[in-house]
Symmetry: C2
Subunit: 410 residues, 2 copies
């Protein structure tokens, strides 16, 4: 296996863009990444494209990569369309990494793109629910129907899931409640961490939301699922992010400035595990740390999957960035804020930067590349030489269905 370098990244603003297409978003993210890499699109040897929701939101299935890359003049090369729910583009990045590491290619693209926002919110939420086993959801809904009919709430066809939120928010809420019970963490601590993320997001020109909020304002925002309020949860949004990966020789040939090394790239899936067995984040993190030959103490900056603030708490602990059970305490104490011991989610995280599902994985990598190259502007972490990303997707049993951890170095 050879080393793999990231020689260009690019991302769109994240937001609700009814008028923008997947092609348009992809074009913008790719154009920036190609310019940074100093390549023409036609030089690429393979493309790995992550998208999760287009099938149910836009009707486009099967060949999403080919469809968005054609307007850029990219064709002929292998195009691999990858899905892994919210971890779709970190999976695409992992495949691109392996392909270049193996020597099969010298120059590959990893692209994540998502159009999740829809005029009919139910479309977005139904698409999100398809990141679980839909048979189980249908069985659950079917079981609910007779009860509702008895209670006079109407029977008939099972309804699509909710109209106002993703089913995943309830899962995160369950995790958060168990954490509060077991470790004594508090809703106020969660609010402090969310406030930190919104502060970070306010410094990020690419973020979907750039407002700052006090913990009090966050607690006062509408309840999604106790203890999670709306401002502790990631919004619905659209966007794209792209990264160009190269062999060291190709990076030299292209005169890459400040190439970033992929020191660890790990992917795993959920399993039916016992209570005392390690969680998916810990398992996949361990593989990435071992590959990179570093430990959590070496990480200077991290982007973790805070689809809700509890995701950040859990990831911080499982990745060993703080002691077990102390994720909420650690965050609320300010250690993960810019200027703290270990800044986490300097981009604003999924809560503030936004979470266009299939784009999130490569967007996290983009933020870490910017940090390592000293290009993060007024959210720059001093001395950021090693960064980590953690990106989870979907649910299978009690775990995320997919999980990817990357460690980047400069």
């Amino acid at each position: 296996m050879q080393e793999v370098k990231i020689i260009g990244v690019g991302m769109t603003h994240f937001g609700k863009f009814l008028e923008r297409s997947m092609k348009d978003l992809s074009r913008e993210a790719c154009a920036t990444a190609f310019t940074e890499a100093g390549i023409e699109p036609q030089q690429l040897q393979a493309a790995y494209v992550g998208n999760a929701m287009a099938g149910l939101v836009t009707g486009q299935e099967c060949i999403r990569g080919q469809v968005v890359l054609r307007p850029l003049g990219i064709g002929g090369i292998p195009v691999i369309n990858v899905e892994n729910a919210c971890a779709s583009s970190s999976t695409a990045f992992h495949l691109a990494w392996l392909a270049v590491a193996s020597g099969a290619y010298d120059l590959a693209l990893a692209l994540g793109v998502e159009k999740l926002y829809h005029e009919d919110k139910k479309v977005s939420f139904t698409a999100l629910a398809a990141a679980m086993d839909v048979e189980i959801i249908q069985q659950f809904l079917a079981l609910q129907q007779p009860k509702k009919a008895e209670a006079g709430e109407g029977g008939g066809k099972p309804k699509s899931e909710g109209g106002g939120r993703s089913i995943f928010m309830d899962f995160y809420a369950i995790g958060a409640r168990m954490h509060m019970q077991r470790y004594g963490s508090t809703q106020e601590q969660f609010a402090a961490i969310a406030a930190k993320n919104h502060y970070h997001g306010s410094l990020n020109p690419h973020a979907q939301y750039r407002e700052t909020y006090t913990p009090e304002q966050i607690l006062a925002s509408p309840l999604v699922s106790y203890p999670l309020t709306r401002l502790m949860c990631s919004p619905i949004g659209d966007g794209a992010a792209a990264a160009v990966l190269a062999s060291p020789e190709m990076a030299r040939k292209l005169g890459a400035r400040q190439p970033v090394t992929v020191a660890g790239s790990a992917l795993g899936s959920g399993r039916d595990r016992k209570m005392n067995e390690p969680d998916i984040v810990a398992r996949v993190g361990k593989v990435a740390y071992e590959m990179a030959g570093i430990g959590p103490e070496d990480v200077k900056v991290a982007e973790v999957h805070d689809a809700t603030v509890y995701g950040e708490v859990q990831a911080s602990e499982e990745l060993g960035l703080c002691p077990a059970g102390e994720g909420a305490l650690f965050g609320a104490a300010g250690h993960t804020r810019l200027g703290g011991k270990l800044p986490i989610n300097t981009s604003g995280g999924l809560e503030s930067k936004g979470h266009p599902v299939g784009a999130t994985g490569v967007a996290q990598i983009t933020e870490i590349v910017w940090q390592l190259q000293g290009r993060a502007g007024n959210r720059q972490v001093a001395g950021a030489t090693v960064g980590l990303t953690e990106n989870g997707g979907g649910a299978i049993g009690v775990e995320a269905a997919a999980m990817s951890v990357h460690i980047l170095k400069i």
Copy 2:
């Protein structure tokens, strides 16, 4: 790169199975492959799962692999969900090949699974149409509406594509007509090749249709799109196929009997090319031939993508299995029939064996493995030591969106 061995394959019958789930079909195909490979499911180190249509047909998106593998006790390992339309599972196989070839894993699964049949045919055909750029389809349909309204055929919302056939049949028909015009091939020749495929399928216990037909009967079957009649086209169907790939060392350790070598594995995508530039089948075939260090003259048996009989004609020529322009002549002369110079589609091909989109790629590989191992029963090709598969998917511009060619040796 190390050599890669196929040490186990398995497939379900192909057919219309309203009562069977993706899980059920996957379980059957995998169980056979695991038994042949002499492994427990838990020994797998990575799984690549190809599916094209489940999102729009069953509502399951994002984590289809995790969902179908969980009941088999497979979890924890990287699960990569791949789409490339009709070439989804050959793409999955290609990724599994690269992963093992690179040394990243010693034991990997490639699975293709599809539930395409639906009580409402429109659901199946709409899903198939999503293997093209749906924006272009929508623009086309929008253009059609005013005309229809004028003609009193009703206006309003653009309808989903047709009620009775896939849009792809029209594309194949255009190709067939151009071939007739340019080379003087005839509808009767196409019928003779289709009759050969239905004869082959009659010998295949896994085939969806096992009737034999005379060329006259084939010509007399309902017209789909001139010159293609229904019996020249692949049906709608469901099924699954699985292959276990191993490093040579792992194959030895497991005591694999008659392991098959992946001598060539190539993947490409469609591009906007000029008239005189080589076609996607030729381009991807060339890569596979070069990797395998062989030429078309060395191929003893082939499975090619005959979504319609014209697909077989085109592939035979582009892969150099017969001279350019002579595919129809070559087939009609009996050279591709069992006992002929170069038997093609001994499984019955997509026309007779069936074409559960995401399962087709690995099913083709399964047939060639059986042929190379001398296990093809009364459709065995004598002296089959080298076999080829060609699997195309979707459409982008005037080419298939994805194309994969594999060369297997024993």
